[in-house]
Symmetry: C2
Subunit: 241 residues, 2 copies
DNA sequence: TCCTAGTTACGTACAGCGTACGTAGTGCGC
DNA sequence: GCGCACTACGTACGCTGTACGTAACTAGGA
């Protein structure tokens, strides 16, 4: 035991105020808000300890009194936007409710485009994350399956929302710090894809790509994916075909 | 137009050899292999331009002759491991074939734990990615749905594989560069979660957590998710309940 | 009431990153 | 055989997260 580095506490287990010493100049909420403001404006890469400290008006290293590691700052940010989830009263129609939850998550992500990039790593049980989980379970009350299946539904649905919305955002945001636009980049990629398909090396892809006409409706693709996932858990849907 | 920065070519559109000047000392495959070796051994964060150059035995900046941006190095890496996919002869049972594809992707990710971290950003159409897509379409030949639905199936399935396997790997690898183990960290997190649930603020979560006994079988959870997704596209399954 | 220990605040410093730029050497195409 | 596109690579810049040391502050215990 002696000399072993202690495992750091989860930040939520850390009390904001310990009682001794000078009064902290900021609350955790202040810091989270500042970081979120920066991320919204400059992207996630703009969120540096220095930048956040400047935004708060304090020295860089002072931040470390509140946030032991940068990762914890991320957790604060995720929790902060988690508060934007509307925890509405369940209607009794679990499908509609979960659909609404998913669309809301998607909307939050479009409002804060850095969220999907943080999601896979930051899975911590922040207060608002727990509240959202509880809310989802409340929406799923009418669904007659074991509790374990419900959590699996929530996980799968959240994963799909994050993946789809995250991909859309990533392609749009990739060029944020670059001297060309997302459209230009996409055109180059598509031109290359076209040239590859034109070689005839991928006949089935050729068929798939020539079939569709016009641009892809990402919103529609997203919604179809959600419906499919919900279908897979819906006893009604599976009997009626 | 004048003075505008040109959109950089996709790296696959760049010829490896232009004909003029000294012979390149390495091939793209050499570089990809070196980067993959490092990532496997030291994790993705070990893959730095300096490190890869050292592994190859050349100066750091020489690498930029082959790989204009680090992002392109990532694309090389993804393509390299894409070669590990076995493009088997479709059996006629599309469900079984797609399940096999998914399990293979999962296996590749466990062999190269950095792959999921790269997937969301690097969606490029590398040669091996295209070959894999074509292979999936071949497996889906027996499924009687529009080609667009098939690509949506592939996307959804791949997304689920990446999300689930990526999450598992992330929790296990998070502590790679830290002085404590993943088990210790997980214990701390779970202790906190337990303390939160014990407050009674999340009654439905309490029920869900007390219901299950013993550790979660991640492999089983993963496989159930795959089955659900496939169900959602399977006409047979939806009629027979 | 005063002392002291635990905090807060923050400047300095370090190791590491991606990569812009300049220069020197090489060998193919004209 | 000349010229130029290419390879090679050292140096340098601006940026990152954060370890560490020091000074100021304040609440709890004597």
């Amino acid at each position: 035991m002696a000399g072993r580095a202690a495992v750091p506490e989860v930040i939520w287990a850390r009390p904001e105020r310990t009682g001794r010493g000078p009064k902290p100049a900021f609350t955790r909420a202040d810091i989270a808000a500042a970081a979120v403001r920066i991320a919204d404006a400059d992207g996630l890469d703009g969120v540096t300890m220095r930048h956040v400290a400047t935004e708060l008006g304090c020295g860089t290293m002072s931040l470390y009194n509140y946030v032991p590691r940068k990762e914890d700052l991320y957790e604060l940010m995720i929790d902060a936007v988690g508060a934007e989830h509307e925890m509405f009263e369940p209607t009794g129609d679990w499908r509609a409710d979960m659909l609404r939850n998913a669309e809301e998550t998607r909307a939050i992500m479009y409002r804060h485009t850095w969220v999907p990039r943080l999601m896979p790593g930051v899975f911590g049980f922040s207060p608002n994350t727990l509240r959202y989980l509880e809310h989802c379970l409340a929406c799923l009350e009418p669904l007659d399956v074991p509790a374990g299946t419900k959590t699996e539904l929530i996980a799968l649905l959240n994963g799909v929302v994050t993946t789809y919305t995250g991909n859309e955002i990533a392609t749009a945001e990739r060029t944020r710090s670059m001297p060309w636009t997302a459209e230009e980049e996409n055109a180059v990629r598509m031109a290359y894809l076209g040239s590859q398909i034109a070689t005839g090396a991928y006949p089935r892809m050729t068929a798939a790509f020539t079939e569709q006409s016009g641009p892809v409706d990402l919103e529609a693709v997203f919604r179809r994916a959600l419906e499919r996932v919900l279908d897979a858990f819906d006893p009604e849907s599976r009997q009626s075909g």
